[in-house]
Symmetry: none
Subunit: 438 residues, 2 copies
């Protein structure tokens, strides 16, 4: 329950607090364009894709706002999107990040409780010697995957294991596995060799604890049972007839638990929502106590429905104080080294942002745009270079930057901050923070 | 073991990783000019010595690179060269720094094992009342010091002390003492009063632990024994005849242990080397797992062989991924308040850097220059002001800075980072970092 700064009464007991609450009814939208930041490229005459793109709306943001650069985690540290987004929501990722598996599971709509260990899984095709022939079983259709997943739920683990498990397919070959019970550990390796032609790995404990050994044993047993059921499954027999790769194995990786964090509503007294296509980001947002809004046509691909997401964000702001709008596509293009496509995507992000800019009340809304990390179109990897950020809204200390870009923003009034600072900066502007000290 | 980003195999097992490793065979040279940064001086028309110096190569670095300022430890904290260098190599000096003695000893070629307590020592001249007459025994020649040190090795400590000790002279009056045994502590004061005319101090425990009391007692006993042997030593009798100050006392200070850090080769999968004249810096680099390359004529003085060091650095880069080139001289001139000499030294550092710039493959090498701390020519002390830095190399986000200096670099694209960030920034550029998160 949010309290009055002055009398520490709950806002319902304190008239000044109630008034203050109403007067500071400020909101914020944060757009995170995944992997949008890059390095200067020879083919762009040493501009970055962001610098080369036509982006009138983002430039307007820079021009009317305060700009800076952000180290998502710390200078030189290359982050994954999950850790970076956790940081951008105000959390110290170096302390609370606890693996991808659980975030992916939560994002896929699977319940993960504290203590549960979750894995990212793939339906895969293996031969009799358990050598991987196709890590994605020919990107098996959702319908087939659903039927196979259904059949795996009947697996009974020996009673002495004293655990429950939940297995659910998500998109195509992708699935999640959650193990629930006492004395589990995330310190276990992957069964996924991540390469065709290699044998499925035994999951090994990564430390000497009883918990790690026990967890590895349980998951190995499960995977064997899964393999047996899948090998004899009618769907696979039918796939064989149709010359499709059989989904006769479940590969597991990325053991994780949900991070122990205080959700945003509790931290800042806000209602928060997120619009994201990829389940990993949805998972991060759910764990942070945000409502995930599904948008039809939001795919996480370069062909995603940019306008659909923009409209959903504007709509979501009506019922929420804070909306995170995540766009995956620029990262995808960077990993493909497709500079032309990356520029097109950035121009689409600009149009998306333009819509937001035109359709929110600028007198009471803060708008911020950043990237979760740099993805180099040359190395095709996430890099530890900082990302640009711009924030506009009532009362920001507007600076001299007139263009949104990696290098222009570095000259801005925010200077260089860390990912975990951004949310506090936004919530401070929205008057949702409490005073530290008296 | 470095792993492939894609398949998480070790680089020897994965052909793409091997290729990636080769393709990203990027290297870095970091030049640290000790104490080069300064404050604006009236006699230089309010320029700093660095701003006043002719430095075409350093300016070229700034012009083609990304610039910034660095707080070696944190804003306003004045660091010693050992702590600052430790930080610039990527370590959190506030957490891992553990005293100068052990670093100096390691740098002098004395073995220091985990748990050993090491001291920096001076041969000194005292009178019968143990009042210090000369803290350096007239900067005693190496030959005399070696013979005296030799004779001290025969000292037998009482058995109950249960320790071994190692004593070695280094340069002139300088020496190191290492104590090895159970239950030792670095929480003990110095015996060196650091001032002529004061009595040699009893080494006192700095906390209430048994370990500190025990260590102080052992070293006090040793120092007494040393004094007895030295007082009657033929070398000293001969020195008395030649009217040279007798080296009849060993002063101890700076009790330290080696810091518990993960060496750079393990952290980044790199081979690293250092070129430095002073044993303290050599010690830091050895502890960080770097190969120390000796250069004839490198003295740590203003008369050091700048070109010899530059050539050695270029040569070292052939067999290493990272080379630290440390030049002491500017700090020496600053401590002497010799502004003219400081400018000359900076111009020599510029020539050294010019040689490096012309003799490395700029398509695959990152070049960085900074200072380990500010040394004021007015206060003649290390100061906590930030230091300038510039980094050039393939794909850096070149900024508008065209001159290398304390104030010009503050306008650069790196903004303001901490010493411990620099190595991560360089290793990120060299593609030697791992992703945090997924």
């Amino acid at each position: 329950m949010r309290k009055c700064f002055n009398c520490m009464q709950s806002k319902l007991q304190c008239i000044p607090a109630l008034r203050e609450w109403r007067e500071s009814d400020l909101k914020a939208i944060l757009v995170i364009a995944d992997g949008m930041a890059d390095r200067p490229l020879k083919e762009l005459d040493w501009k970055t894709p962001l610098e080369a793109a036509r982006k009138p709306a983002l430039n307007k943001l820079a021009k009317t706002g305060v700009c800076g650069i952000i180290d998502p985690i710390a200078p030189g540290i290359s982050p994954g999107s999950d850790a970076a987004t956790l940081a951008m929501l105000g959390y110290d990722a170096l302390k609370v990040y606890s693996g991808r598996g659980a975030l992916e599971a939560v994002g896929s709509g699977v319940e993960v409780l504290p203590g549960d260990v979750a894995f990212r899984c793939n339906f895969a095709t293996v031969n009799k010697k358990l050598v991987v022939l196709d890590r994605r079983s020919g990107r098996i259709a959702n319908e087939d995957a659903a039927k196979l997943a259904e059949s795996l739920r009947k697996v009974k683990l020996r009673k002495s294991a004293n655990v429950e498990f939940f297995f659910r397919n998500t998109v195509q070959h992708r699935a999640v596995l959650v193990i629930r019970g006492p004395k589990l550990s995330t310190a276990i390796g992957d069964s996924d060799p991540e390469q065709v032609g290699k044998k499925v790995l035994d999951m090994k404990p990564l430390d000497n604890s009883t918990e790690a050994r026990r967890t590895a044993q349980i998951v190995n047993e499960l995977v064997q049972e899964f393999h047996q059921i899948l090998s004899e499954h009618p769907i696979n027999k039918e796939r064989a007839k149709r010359k499709l790769p059989q989904a006769n194995m479940v590969l597991c990786r990325g053991a994780g638990i949900i991070p122990k964090i205080t959700p945003l509503p509790e931290l800042f007294g806000i209602k928060a929502a997120c619009i994201a296509a990829v389940s990993l980001i949805k998972g991060v947002c759910k764990v942070a106590g945000m409502k995930v809004i599904e948008v039809k046509g939001a795919t996480g691909t370069p062909q995603t429905d940019y306008m659909g997401k923009a409209k959903a964000a504007v709509q979501a702001l009506k019922a929420n104080d804070f909306v995170l709008l995540h766009v995956k596509a620029a990262d995808v293009a960077s990993h493909d080294g497709n500079v032309k496509q990356k520029i097109e995507i950035i121009e689409n992000v600009d149009k998306l942002f333009s819509f937001v800019l035109k359709n929110v009340d600028l007198g009471s809304t803060f708008l911020a745009v950043t990237a979760d990390h740099t993805t180099s179109s040359v190395t095709r990897n996430h890099e530890g270079d900082p990302v640009p950020v711009a924030i506009t809204g009532p009362g920001v200390r507007r600076d001299d930057v007139v263009e949104f870009g990696e290098r222009t923003c570095a000259m801005g009034g925010l200077n260089r901050i860390r990912g975990m600072d951004l949310m506090h900066v936004l919530m401070n502007l929205c008057e949702k923070t409490k005073k530290f000290g008296a």
